[in-house]
Symmetry: C2
Subunit: 403 residues, 2 copies
């Protein structure tokens, strides 16, 4: 039990923040109450694909939600689906999914672990393989479970429905996969399962199977799916439109800088700790021209990279980005200015020609009319600049710094 | 290898006799050829329901066909489906099928064995349980097999099709049952599987699964299904319209006597060793009035009972039937005549008033105009009669004997 004030209702509000849908809210509230009564933390389940050694920002939407549960005292259970991973996709339909050896699965798991613990609290995180229990389920047991599931109900699943309608082949083993995921919930007595809406059928299957075996049903919490760098498709390894959290700072930085402007807000919302108020300010700033989208995007990139790497490395990545990517393609309205890295903000403003005197510069800063990378400069004592920082005065004066 | 002349084509003709359909004829001929080349007998598979301790005449249609294979040198493999029997019918939809304990299955198997060996050659018969291999199939293996089967193809099965169309529930485990039967063929490397047309889908599944695992496909031989005593429904335990081969002679006899006349021919064809010529004679005799259907039916009952009990007991059953069932309801055209059991045929004919002299009686016999129970009396030396025998002279003179 942590030392927080017991307030299940408040916990529930935090849990629902940013979520698209919560199924089983009353049951979850009951479980949260029980937690305060008994001290037994809830098990928050997340299923992981064993073929993905590179966790990307798309995954972090749910991982960050799990971290919130951990701050409330609960424990994360990350289940690597190695059982089906070792089976692969025998239909050969999904060309991007290959059959994994046991060794590959274990290697991937290590990679996973390293990455997951960048986001989650190691003290409250268990990582396991579903082959631990699925390997021991006999055909006889499986038949018993299958006998409780109706085919018609199974075919209500979107992907099956479409294929039935178009007379496209469904292979029998595919009908088992939602049940295998359900068995994971059954076996681990999960209290909450988190996923994207694309997992809705499978997560609800877990609820159904738990109920049929006389167990309390897990709550189902659905988080938004985040678009990849193209701004169109769901972020995914197979589409190549992803940012892996284990990628080098400069790679992450560069990738994030390629997103379309209209994704900036959603990325801030789901991928950073900025409050909704702070995010709204940035959005308003872009809309009324106070902030240049490129500056806001650089703030986004710096913030996200800084979550997975030391802040210093994030800043270096930004410098490199400016040097390699921006040079030669600096837009007319964004001139380049070479400054002494230890110059004061007032000196830089003078050099940029944004003020005619240090006192005018001081006044502009005090009126909160000066920004670095979209963030208001709060003090005239600022004397640290980085290559690629964007200095802005008023709505229209921008300059990119290089040292 | 038996000492028969090698003639696979002739073997094939015998195999097809009385069968409704043979799928894989070319492959079977190839297998028969291989048998003569290598001496390795074919494995003739039959699946048995573990819940049926009482084999009835309906089952003997296929069992008698297997015996024919045995006379050709091949071996019978009878597979008791205890694996699914122990699962039972978890939907509760099939009220007549109950979950069996291991003990019950074993007891039933003993009963089966005793009955089966009344028909089959013990030297060439193996009885086994499919749990022997199905218990060892892992969920992973099963998923691999399932991944090679299309749902659309599975739903072509009649019983599924109808239920899909009427939106009636199909439970997922039901989709596995044809595959489990197919696994039996795979595991035992069956060369031929025999069954009724109701087994067509499942038996063809065995062919399909063998082919997909790179094995020679079993031939599929379909025998007619025989109607039960009501003459309408398939003979089955659950409908109560059956004759068990382990039932007492008098019970079998009585039951067979209740079949409608228009089933007599089919019963002779599928349940006795009479040749098609002999059967045609009986049918013709009934049609032109030479033979009374009751007499022919008694011959049928006597023949069938005699296959499963000593002939003496079959005759006693007939006597009892006549005494208990027929007395008091003897039709006008079938008067009763008490005779000395050791009287000669000529004396009996005289006593019955069917001839006016022994020489006339002798001539009638020699002209093959005298029958006992529908069978022509071949010799005037006949001097053994049984209670209930029906003596017939010409087309219209009948008398039932009692002693």
């Amino acid at each position: 039990m942590n030392e927080r004030i017991m307030n299940p209702e408040k916990d529930l509000a935090l849990i629902k923040k940013g979520a698209l849908e919560l199924i089983g809210q009353d049951e979850l509230l009951e479980k949260l109450n029980a937690y305060y009564r008994t001290g037994k933390p809830l098990t928050i389940k997340l299923g992981l694909d064993p073929s993905a050694p590179d966790i990307h920002l798309g995954h972090t939407v749910v991982l960050r939600k799990i971290r919130q549960f951990q701050t409330l005292g609960h424990k994360a259970l990350l289940i690597i689906g190695d059982f089906t991973g070792r089976i692969g996709d025998p239909t050969g339909k999904n060309k991007l999914r290959k059959q994994l050896t046991e060794k590959e699965v274990l290697e991937n798991a290590d990679t996973y672990k390293k990455q997951l613990l960048k986001i989650l609290d190691p003290e409250k995180t268990t990582i396991c393989f579903n082959s631990e229990w699925l390997d021991n389920i006999s055909l006889k047991d499986m038949i018993e479970f299958m006998s409780k599931q109706s085919l018609l109900r199974m075919l209500e699943r979107d992907s099956f429905k479409k294929r039935m309608e178009s007379q496209e082949a469904i292979f029998l083993h595919e009908l088992l996969y939602p049940m295998l995921q359900g068995l994971d919930s059954l076996e681990t007595e999960a209290d909450v399962e988190i996923g994207g809406m694309d997992q809705k059928f499978n997560i609800l299957m877990g609820r159904d199977m738990q109920a049929k075996e006389g167990m309390d049903k897990q709550a189902a919490l659905f988080m938004p799916i985040i678009e990849g760098l193209d701004g169109q498709m769901k972020m995914s390894k197979s589409l190549g439109n992803y940012v892996g959290i284990d990628e080098a700072p400069e790679v992450m930085f560069e990738k994030i800088m390629t997103i379309p402007d209209d994704l900036i807000e959603k990325y801030f919302l789901l991928l950073t700790d900025l409050t909704t108020v702070e995010i709204q300010d940035l959005v308003d700033g872009m809309e009324n021209g106070d902030l240049h989208p490129k500056a806001v995007k650089m703030k986004l990139a710096e913030t996200i990279v800084g979550q997975y790497h030391p802040l210093e490395d994030a800043l270096k990545a930004k410098e490199r980005f400016v040097r390699v990517m921006s040079q030669g393609q600096v837009p007319k309205e964004l001139p380049n200015l070479t400054v002494d890295p230890n110059a004061s903000i007032l000196e830089v403003m003078l050099k940029a020609g944004f003020s005619t005197s240090k006192s005018e510069a001081r006044r502009l800063v005090q009126q909160k009319g000066v920004k670095i990378n979209g963030k208001i400069v709060e003090s005239i004592d600022l004397d640290e600049f980085h290559k690629g920082d964007i200095l802005q005065v008023g709505k229209k004066k921008f300059v990119e710094l290089s040292s």
